[in-house]
């Protein structure tokens, strides 16, 4: 795991830079197995930075959520950079956002953390449902070690590791200004193993499966709020003229929302799993994202979030496209 002292040290150095406004990192959560985002404006704020296997949120979401306050006459826009602590997936999200003109490279300073994988929040909460005490977890020799009510638990890493981390090809940040710690080893994985069964199912079975899933959707839009790539200032789902999706929560509208969300991430999703992690109804959103990601990879040989200078897939026009898949 990353040396937390080193993290705090580097973050302090970065914050000391004149062109840095604040740094976004992780801090202890307020209960159980949660961690939260920390916004450090002072060296003291930086002291609370942590990086543990519970740091499973995607911090790339935050810079775009910053509200631009109206400026007084003659007042200049604060052009200082925002520092962000990034894992592999967070850095890919930032890369993709930059590729899409969502932000400029100059607007951010990236503190890269090679990530050994994070914990599946839902899995650990299922195992210890009543844990409300703030719990710290350390990864030691492929085991997660933590203490609950004086009793030490050791759980093999693979049992609690988040699904997306099991097949992660980019645990090391693809874009960073400072790298904290040694790069972790990447083992090529069967990325689309998880959706194989679903792909092989009949159309009717798949439809039935998704109907059941979407039936439970409560349209809280937590998936959208957690996703670093859902950053439209006004989401299409909120438009009234025309109203693409009605407010009512029923299978038809839920299906429309979920399909729209998935399609809007085609060629953009960087597999961080934030949406699925945030979903209170446990809808397997990553299955949709992965299927679309697979299609995109196979048809266009494009992987999102790797190169800030690449053209976004759906924003490119190639007259020589063989279009072999159009039947």
């Amino acid at each position: 795991m990353v040396d937390q002292k080193k993290l705090v040290e580097v973050a302090k150095e970065t914050l000391a830079r004149k062109d840095v406004k604040y740094i976004i990192g992780y801090k202890k959560g307020s209960y159980g197995f949660q961690t939260s985002a920390a916004f450090a404006y002072t060296p003291k704020d930086v002291e609370q930075f942590i990086f543990t296997p519970l740091c499973n949120k995607n911090l790339a979401k935050y810079p775009l959520k910053e509200e631009k306050l109206p400026l007084k006459r003659g007042e200049e826009e604060d052009k200082r950079k925002i520092g962000i602590v990034v894992k592999g997936c967070d850095s890919r999200a930032i890369t993709q956002i930059i590729q899409e003109n969502g932000m400029n490279r100059e607007e951010v300073v990236l503190l890269g953390i090679p990530c050994p994988g994070v914990i599946n929040q839902k899995e650990i909460e299922k195992r210890f449902p009543n844990q409300s005490e703030i719990t710290e977890i350390n990864e030691i020799n492929d085991e997660y070690v933590f203490t609950i009510e004086g009793k030490e638990h050791k759980i093999p890493k693979q049992e609690l590791l988040a699904e997306v981390c099991k097949t992660c090809d980019y645990p090391n940040p693809v874009l960073y200004d400072v790298m904290i710690g040694e790069e972790v080893e990447v083992n090529p994985k069967e990325e689309y193993e998880g959706i194989k069964e679903l792909e092989e199912a009949s159309l009717e079975d798949r439809w039935e499966y998704w109907e059941e899933q979407f039936q439970s959707c409560i349209r809280c839009y937590a998936c959208r709020e957690a996703c670093p790539l859902c950053y439209c200032s006004t989401c299409m789902a909120d438009l009234l003229e025309p109203q693409w999706i009605r407010r009512s929560v029923n299978l038809s509208e839920n299906t429309a929302w979920n399909i729209m969300r998935a399609f809007h991430l085609a060629g953009r999703c960087i597999n961080c799993g934030a949406c699925e992690n945030a979903c209170p109804m446990d809808i397997p959103l990553m299955e949709l994202n992965k299927k679309l990601g697979k299609e995109v990879k196979e048809m266009f040989e494009y992987t999102p979030g790797l190169d800030i200078d690449a053209k976004p897939l759906l924003g490119s026009f190639n007259p020589d496209d063989p279009e072999e898949f159009i039947k």
Partner: protein, 655 residues
């Protein structure tokens, strides 16, 4: 809101599969519909009168015509309603012919589908808003790209109408492929004799600016106002000073293949493509010359009396504006390297039609003596293989190049005229002589000149001593044929030239399945392209013979003049527009736009700067790509607004 619905029977075209009366009756039940009628031919004058009368008497606001494709009659009906004071963009066409009657045969289902489509259009119609056509100024000057016979003819015709025209040619001289031909079918006119006067006229005409050895690098802008960057490569010989004395050539130590003679003869690094070349000036080939960086040799410069040679010439970028563009970038022949089954690459005397053309030409490599490439032996027996690499969807070109039957026949006839005791054998699949006097020409070759025609394919070519053993089959007699030949000529077909592909990507023209430029309509708009103001002539759209190319060039010239003769022209009204509040400035639309019509601009809100998309109204063609790509529908298209489309989908879903 008062909508009129007009259902056309199109004779029996529609009424045979759609119960038009029932559709009209149904339309009356739909919201806002004030009138609904059926007529046999809505596009005919009486049909148009019905609509006009209703607009006047029933005070209609909107008109819907359920008939054929909008590509067919949208302009007709727009004019009808405009005539009665309605905005032409409030017209809605429902295509119940191509989309219903022509593709279905069950009348009950056809009627049901027609009703649904009419309903969806009634819903859309209610939401349609009047649009204004914008007007833009026009540059009274045309650009012709490519100076083969098509480009030359187009430039001459535009210049002849009194307009300025710039003619850009990639190679060192104009003339193109026709300049390489010895004679032309079906009259056996000397190619140079009929082409040279036109080439000379191009050089002389004050309305024509010729830029040779140059390529069009970039085209921006739109109809009436194309901004073009032309890159002129250095010639290293000052055109005006060169007197064509030829003193430079003997002293040049560099010997390379001569492309004009299909690489069958040598030339020097300083050369002129052919004696009649225009511009009439020598040129130095920078790839082979020893004088250009580093300066090792300057023999030509030393002997040049008029001091025409300048090793320091640099590429030049010429920027200019044009009102219309004619693309005449021509063709290449199918590469013989692909025809290994006919010994190409193994047997040196297996040659292409164009190579044979050079061999038989008095100005060619063997000065007309007809000696074969391998050992210089005089040719006595020649075999022509038709459709070499053509009409073969499995391995080669799927299409017929249309000229190969005729040029092989021409070459066989020329050969027989030259070598009276020689034999010329043609292996063919079909003889296609579609053209004025072509059949007679073929008869003349076969009957008078005794050119042999064998219907069948050649299966194998084998080098047999100094000769080539040709094995084939005569499918009319079902006999195998074996004969010996001195040379075998492969009548290779036409493929789009590299220049055609390059210019298509510069101009963003759409290409057809075989890589030729796609016409706006294969029959009625044969020289128009997907881009208004860009026209195309000659083999850039597909195989053509010279007469057809020349006529196309004439039409392309007229169409270009149609534009450059105007002071102002109207541009499309159904263009994209941006909702700046919704736009997140991601620029996905910028990359999706095939016409470079969208840019990201800075906009200020409460002192903060945001990037938003901005559409250039004159550049936008209204293709809708941006509207489809935008994630939160911040970009929309006039006339095809999301709310209109959604209303249509909703109506269709309710059935």
């Amino acid at each position: 809101m008062r909508i009129g619905v007009y259902v056309c029977e199109c004779g029996k075209n529609i009424s045979a599969t759609v119960d038009t009366e029932k559709v009209a009756e149904y339309a009356k039940s739909l919201p806002n519909v004030a009138s609904s009628r059926v007529y046999k031919y809505m596009c005919a004058d009486p049909g148009q009168e019905i609509i006009k009368k209703d607009i006047e008497e029933l005070k209609l606001d909107k008109v819907i015509v359920a008939a054929c494709s909008p590509r067919m009659h949208e302009p007709t009906f727009r004019a009808v309603i405009e005539d009665k004071g309605l905005n032409p963009y409030t017209l809605e066409i429902v295509n119940i012919r191509e989309q219903v009657s022509w593709v279905h045969d069950d009348k009950k289902k056809g009627t049901k589908k027609a009703k649904s489509l009419v309903k969806s259009s009634v819903m859309r119609s209610a939401l349609m808003e009047p649009l204004d056509r914008k007007r833009v100024g026009v540059t009274h000057k045309a650009l012709v790209i490519g100076a083969g016979i098509a480009g030359i003819q187009a430039a001459l015709d535009i210049a002849g109408s009194g307009y300025q025209v710039t003619l850009v040619e990639k190679s060192s001289s104009i003339g193109g492929k026709m300049a390489q031909l010895d004679k032309t079918f079906p009259t056996l006119d000397c190619s140079a004799c009929i082409l040279s006067p036109k080439m000379v006229e191009v050089g002389r005409n004050p309305n024509i600016t010729l830029i040779a050895n140059a390529e069009v690098e970039q085209v921006d802008g739109y109809v009436g106002n194309f901004k073009v960057k032309i890159k002129k490569r250095p010639r290293y010989v000052i055109e005006d000073k060169c007197t064509m004395c030829d003193d430079c050539v003997p002293v040049c130590p560099v010997i390379v293949h001569d492309e004009y003679n299909e690489n069958l003869s040598p030339r020097k690094a300083i050369y002129i493509a052919f004696p009649q070349a225009i511009p009439a000036s020598y040129i130095i080939d920078p790839d082979d010359c020893l004088g250009i960086d580093p300066l090792i040799c300057s023999k030509c410069k030393d002997v040049c009396g008029p001091e025409a040679i300048d090793f320091d010439m640099k590429p030049e970028i010429i920027e200019d504006e044009f009102g219309a563009i004619v693309v005449a970038t021509g063709f290449e022949t199918y590469p013989i390297e692909n025809l290994g089954e006919y010994g190409a690459g193994n047997i040196p005397d297996v040659i292409t039609g164009l190579e044979f053309e050079r061999l038989i030409s008095p100005g060619g490599p063997s000065t007309g003596d007809l000696r074969r490439p391998s050992d210089g032996k005089l040719i006595k027996n020649v075999v022509f293989i038709h459709c070499a690499g053509s009409r073969d969807p499995a391995k080669h070109l799927p299409y017929c190049s249309k000229i190969c039957c005729m040029y092989s026949t021409k070459q066989a006839l020329m050969f027989k005229n030259e070598v009276r005791d020689g034999t010329a054998v043609n292996f063919y699949i079909d003889i296609r002589t579609g053209g004025k006097d072509y059949e007679e020409f073929y008869q003349r070759a076969a009957e008078e000149a005794k050119v042999v025609y064998i219907r069948g394919k050649v299966s194998e070519l084998i080098q047999d001593g100094a000769e080539i053993l040709v094995k084939g089959v005569n499918t009319l007699t079902a006999e195998t044929v074996e004969l010996h030949a001195d040379v075998v000529v492969l009548a290779t077909g036409i493929i789009p030239s590299q220049g055609t592909k390059d210019i298509a990507s510069v101009l963003r023209l759409s290409l057809g399945i075989n890589g030729f430029i796609k016409e706006a309509h294969p029959k009625l708009k044969p020289v128009e392209t997907s881009i208004t103001g860009v026209f195309v002539a000659g083999c850039a759209t597909g195989p053509k013979d010279i007469p057809e190319t020349v006529s196309q060039a004439g039409r392309a010239a007229v169409r270009a003049c149609n534009i450059i003769a105007q002071d102002e022209i109207e541009v499309e009204a159904t263009i994209a527009h941006v909702d700046e509040i919704l736009c997140r400035g991601c620029g996905i639309c910028v990359g999706t736009c095939p016409y470079s019509a969208i840019t990201l601009i800075d906009t200020k809100r409460f002192g903060n700067i945001y990037k938003v998309a901005s559409v250039n109204e004159a550049l936008c063609k209204g293709c809708g790509s941006c509207a489809a790509a935008c994630l939160n529908s911040a970009i929309n298209q006039f006339g095809f607004e999301d709310k209109q489309i959604l209303a249509m989908i909703q109506a269709l879903g309710e059935e």
